[in-house]
């Protein structure tokens, strides 16, 4: 009977050693990055007084505000901004997507041009757009709506174009073979295939735009974000906390609702068109 002998250098196995050195390397990089920002562990431990002061100024939240008309209307404004941004942005994205997909674009150059436009559009952060639009159309929810439309087009145009390119070729050919025009092909072969995925993604876009609408409000785009920044500027922390509660409830609630609607759309049996 032989005993199982472990060779002397083998026991911390190669995998374990690799993992440990990876983690150590990661920690070193993290320390270097912190050092770059000029932070040490000490900078995170603030005087407890600040937190206590803030809590004292915040609590209890101004609950009366939650039932007031003004907060209700600013929530509606934010929801409207997100809704318009999604609907109009989604429609524009759908329109452009047909020019950016290889199987529906009228010409290769058109496709290249539209694709480049969409990719460039995707990279522009909301901050730049809202700062320019505030000058162009003035402070208010309209500037926020236009920003959200701009962002949604960039985000979903490329996505929709990819979906169209992946649609089933056989259906397209069979519709074309009965002599349909390009528009008819799109209507009867492409749209029925891609519409469910578009609709589902628009609900994600709505959730995303609802979150994005709040910083836009802070910069002057109207809605609840504007009210929040205003209260914060006046150091009315009780109001700030009330607005914060309203925002959390709204975002989580809308997420639930759009999840539910999306699921009922997707699982609904698709009757033949």
């Amino acid at each position: 009977m032989t005993t199982l002998e472990v060779p002397p250098g083998a026991l911390p196995s190669r995998k374990l050693r690799l993992m440990i050195s990876f983690l150590l390397g990661m920690a070193a990089v993290l320390c270097l990055l912190f050092a770059f920002l000029g932070m040490g562990p000490a900078s995170f431990f603030v005087d407890f007084r600040f937190i206590a002061d803030l809590a004292e100024q915040m609590l209890p939240p101004n609950m009366g505000l939650l039932w007031s008309k003004s907060i209700f209307f600013s929530l509606i404004d934010t929801l409207s901004m997100a809704f318009l941004g999604t609907i109009v942005g989604g429609a524009l994205a759908l329109f452009l997507a047909f020019f950016a997909a290889i199987n529906t674009a009228p010409h290769r150059l058109v496709r290249l041009f539209t694709r480049t436009l969409l990719v460039a559009n995707r990279s522009v952060p909301h901050l730049i757009v809202i700062l320019v639009l505030l000058v162009a159309v003035g402070i208010g929810p309209f500037a926020g709506v236009l920003t959200l439309i701009f962002g949604s087009v960039g985000m979903y145009g490329k996505f929709f174009a990819d979906a169209i390119e992946q649609s089933d070729k056989g259906t397209l050919e069979s519709v074309e073979s009965v002599g349909s025009t390009r528009l008819q092909t799109i209507r009867f072969a492409v749209l029925p295939q891609v519409m469910p995925s578009f609709a589902a993604n628009l609900f994600y876009a709505f959730d995303y735009n609802l979150r994005a609408a709040i910083p836009l409000g802070v910069f002057g785009g109207g809605g609840i974000g504007f009210q929040l920044a205003f209260a914060n500027g006046l150091l009315h922390y009780k109001d700030v906390l009330a607005y914060t509660i309203a925002i959390v409830v709204m975002i989580n609630g809308m997420e639930r609702i759009s999840d539910w609607v999306r699921r009922s759309i997707i699982t609904q049996p698709m009757v033949t068109k």
């Binding site: 995170f44 409207s80 952060p125 901050l127 159309v137």
Partner: protein, 279 residues
């Protein structure tokens, strides 16, 4: 009687059935379209949508954009530091978020954690997801003062919120047989997590973390404008000071940063998915 007599009829004329289905479908589509139209009109009314001001705005916007050019190329040297601050902030927040979201996700999944812990963790995650970064930022400034720290904390928190939700949903979808198989060999709870859970969620953690890096860069630009410093601050302060060529330079650098972060995250995500099973 009625049901019995229509049964053969249906079999003979499936076309009628189909036609009725089509009519119902059309009504549903019409109702959805009307609802959408009503909502759109209401929302446009609330948001003061004004087509005329949009068209005059095009002129104003174009005039403003004209003032942007030529960009102030000499400012590049001074903007490298804020640009790096934004990038580093996003990077640290992503790494911290990825590390901390793992324990949060384990505590928030129904097949690993006791119900009370799960409920607490899930409500914490919901709170994190419902609080936009900018709201957290405004509150954190009151605690930490202006600077990169509140931005970093806000970004890390919302990274944790997003990643932990995705991971916890992923863990809950793991088939119970797998956990039982590992448990059956006499593994402790931590060994089950190490050998049955982590290998399954690691690719999703890495892929979503890379996506979150992209999101963090964009959000970091916005947080910069409200007091976290970095390139967002340069951009908004030079816009407010009406130094448009400088703002243009900051915008170009931001575009480059966002585009680069997108490319980097796409590249690594493609590598992760092509590598298949990741150990």
């Amino acid at each position: 009687m009625g049901a019995l007599s229509t049964a053969p009829f249906r079999q003979e004329f499936p076309f009628l059935e189909w036609k009725r289905g089509l009519t119902v479908q059309r009504w549903k589509h019409l109702a959805a379209a009307v609802l959408l139209a009503v909502l759109t009109v209401f929302a446009s009314f609330r948001c003061n949508v004004d087509v005329a001001s949009f068209f005059t705005g095009i002129g104003k916007g174009a005039a403003l954009l004209q003032m942007f050019f030529p960009p102030e190329w000499s400012g590049v040297g001074g903007m490298m530091q804020p640009l790096a601050v934004t990038a580093v902030m996003a990077l640290i927040a992503t790494i911290l978020g990825m590390c901390l979201s793992l324990p949060c996700a384990l505590a928030a999944s129904s097949n690993l954690a006791p119900p009370l812990l799960r409920l607490t963790m899930r409500s914490f995650i919901a709170l994190e997801r419902g609080l936009p970064e900018i709201v957290q930022m405004l509150l954190l400034i009151a605690i930490f003062g202006l600077g990169a720290i509140p931005g970093l904390v806000a970004l890390s928190f919302s990274s944790i919120g997003m990643l932990a939700k995705l991971l916890a949903d992923g863990i809950e979808e793991i088939e119970p047989q797998m956990l039982e198989a590992v448990e059956g060999t006499g593994a402790t709870r931590s060994q089950v997590i190490r050998y049955a859970v982590i290998p399954q969620i690691l690719p999703s953690l890495l892929a979503n973390g890379l996506f979150r890096f992209e999101v963090n860069v964009r959000a970091g630009v916005i947080l910069g404008a409200v007091g976290a410093g970095g390139i967002g601050y340069v951009m908004s302060s030079s816009m407010n000071a009406m130094e448009y060529p400088r703002a243009c330079m900051a915008t170009l650098l931001t575009l480059a940063l966002v585009f680069a972060s997108e490319r980097i995250s796409d590249f690594f995500r493609a590598r992760i998915f092509s590598a298949g099973a990741l150990r």
